[in-house]
């Protein structure tokens, strides 16, 4: 089968029991060498999709292939050629860093030495703790070790299921820097995350919610698709501000964003009108400036539309 896509998903559906529709006719494709993000909250279906692609689950309907191999028929081929890092830390806690890596290298029929180049940058940070038990590593270090183990057989495609969940901002940043370097080495990466701000670090993303893909595009295009005028507003009382802004007649939506509120308007309007409205509501310390939409603005906009 001639297929230029590293990952090709066509109309995949998956149901758990009678009630839960985890994936509803999902279609997407990932180019070879692309860093692709699945962005969505818990329960959106990210894990289910990754598990189907990693051949751990069978879809109820639809077709999917990884590197041209069918996820149902050619699962053995896929298993030998992809790396997978599940959402939970899934290494042996009672084995040392070295023992874990050696174990995974061997079951994939390779050695650490053979593919050391690929993991070298990550592994040097782990090296000082070679003999430490994996269970005694910090959260960030565990992630790095898990990534090393998923990479040790030089996979063509890497599946990462929420690698940065519960990890602090510094470790998250470092982790993304590692992914960027892996991408430069030509590995296709499919990564899922509930953190919207991480979307901008991917080449293309799929925004996914309740088993449906709301949008697939580059982060820049998704943000550009936010067509409402957007203002960043702050006053001294955020709680009242949000409530009052929602009373404002031209308001499309008002959500807190950091120390500002993002006010999306139904049509172009002078910021002075908003200022006057808030002053009228006895707000103090009013500050209004135009804002650029973020992925999160787009995500919420798409959520309310669907």
């Amino acid at each position: 089968m001639a297929n230029q896509y590293a990952i090709d998903v066509q109309n995949i559906s998956k149901r758990y029991g009678k009630q839960v529709l985890a994936l509803d006719e999902i279609s997407l494709h990932v180019h070879s060498g692309e860093l692709f993000g699945l962005i969505g909250p818990d329960g959106a279906g990210k894990t289910t999709l990754i598990r189907i692609l990693a051949t751990l689950l069978l879809a109820d309907s639809g077709q999917a292939s990884v590197n041209g191999w069918d996820v149902r028929k050619d699962y053995k081929k896929i298993r030998s050629n992809v790396g997978y890092m599940p959402g939970r830390f899934s290494l042996y806690q009672d084995l040392s860093v070295e023992e874990n890596l050696h174990f995974f290298a061997t079951i994939f029929g390779t050695t650490i030495e053979e593919n050391y180049e690929l993991i070298r940058e990550i592994y040097v940070q782990l090296e000082p703790f070679r003999t430490r038990k994996a269970g005694q590593l910090s959260g960030g270090m565990k992630q790095k070790l898990a990534l090393c183990c998923a990479l040790i057989h030089k996979p063509l495609v890497l599946f990462l299921d929420e690698p940065t969940t519960g990890v602090d901002a510094v470790s998250r940043q470092e982790f993304w820097e590692m992914l960027q370097r892996l991408r430069q080495k030509g590995i296709t990466i499919l990564v899922s995350t509930p953190y919207m701000d991480e979307a901008s670090l991917c080449e293309r993303v799929a925004l996914i919610q309740k088993g449906r893909i709301m949008s697939i595009d580059t982060p820049a295009n998704i943000v550009a698709g936010f067509d409402k005028p957007l203002l960043a507003v702050r006053t001294d009382n955020m709680y009242r501000l949000i409530n009052d802004l929602r009373q404002f007649e031209s308001t499309h939506s008002a959500y807190p964003f950091g120390d500002y509120a993002h006010l999306a308007l139904n049509g172009p309007i002078w910021p002075e009108a908003v200022h006057a409205f808030l002053a009228d509501k006895k707000h103090t310390g009013i500050e209004i400036k135009p804002a650029k939409a973020t992925i999160e603005d787009s995500f919420m906009e798409l959520m309310t539309k669907s």
């Binding site: 909250p41 818990d42 602090d168 901002a169 940043q173 509930p194 009382n237 949000i242 950091g258 120390d259």
Partner: protein, 245 residues
């Protein structure tokens, strides 16, 4: 007005390891206080000491005016607690969870019944009273857990990563609930990994290696570190010289 929480050189050691190293701060009544830090910086240990679950090695602290060494039982009656990992019993229904938590705080049956009505109405969940918690969407669960954690009207509520994995709209609805309670005088003590949420807080402390490395309003912190966002402040503080294991 008495501060809701005071800590003065509060320290906890485990053997040779100093998890919390002489931290001092005050949280005002009705304040939303963000408690940030890298994994393993000592946040959890500090919260446990304030909750009365762990006895400090040295230093002083009061919560709701009570001493954390001598009055842990009084403290426990005046605080609420909710974490992302555990908050509700998934195999009980919404109603049963409310009854259970009302019961352990000794609320009279009549109050529980009244509060249950109120609480479900506020969340728009009246028709889900007999639904098992595990079949609710995560966002609903977290909002419900928060409502239950403050059902006994605690003076201070501790929230440990309350919004992990929740969709952006529900996350904001959650924060609006927090604002509402803070507006009515409840003190909120919250940890989070979402740096934009740090900016929702009145003041933020950032722990690094057991110490409080910075404590101020998000705005002042950003100015101090010449950063555009709390994310940059956080990276600035925690990246150099952080422990690597």
């Amino acid at each position: 007005m008495l501060p809701a929480i005071t800590a003065d050189k509060l320290t906890k050691r485990f053997g040779d390891f100093t998890a919390v190293n002489q931290i001092s701060f005050e949280v005002k009544k009705g304040e939303i206080f963000g408690f940030l830090g890298a994994n393993g910086a000592g946040k959890t240990t500090a919260i446990r000491m304030l909750n009365g679950l762990s006895r400090p090695t040295s230093g002083q602290a009061t919560v709701a005016g009570f001493d954390v060494y001598r009055n842990t039982e009084k403290i426990k009656r005046r605080i609420g607690y909710m974490s992302q990992k555990f908050s509700l019993y998934e195999d009980l229904t919404v109603r049963e969870n409310i009854q259970f938590y009302g019961g352990i705080y000794g609320l009279p049956l009549k109050d529980i019944r009244h509060q249950m009505k109120q609480l479900l109405a506020n969340l728009g969940m009246e028709s889900y009273a007999r639904t098992l918690v595990k079949s609710l969407p995560l966002g609903w669960r977290q909002k419900l857990a928060f409502s239950i954690a403050i059902m006994h009207r605690p003076e201070i509520v501790f929230l440990d990563e309350p919004t992990g994995g929740v969709d952006p709209i529900t996350r904001r609805q959650f924060w609006e609930m927090i604002y509402k309670e803070a507006n009515e005088g409840m003190t909120i003590f919250v940890t989070t990994h979402y740096m934009d949420e740090a900016e929702y807080c009145g003041r933020v402390s950032i722990m690094v290696d057991g110490r409080i490395a910075a404590l101020d309003t998000p705005k002042a912190l950003k100015e101090q570190f010449h950063a555009d966002s709390m994310n940059d402040v956080f990276l600035n503080l925690t990246r150099p010289g952080r422990q690597h294991a």
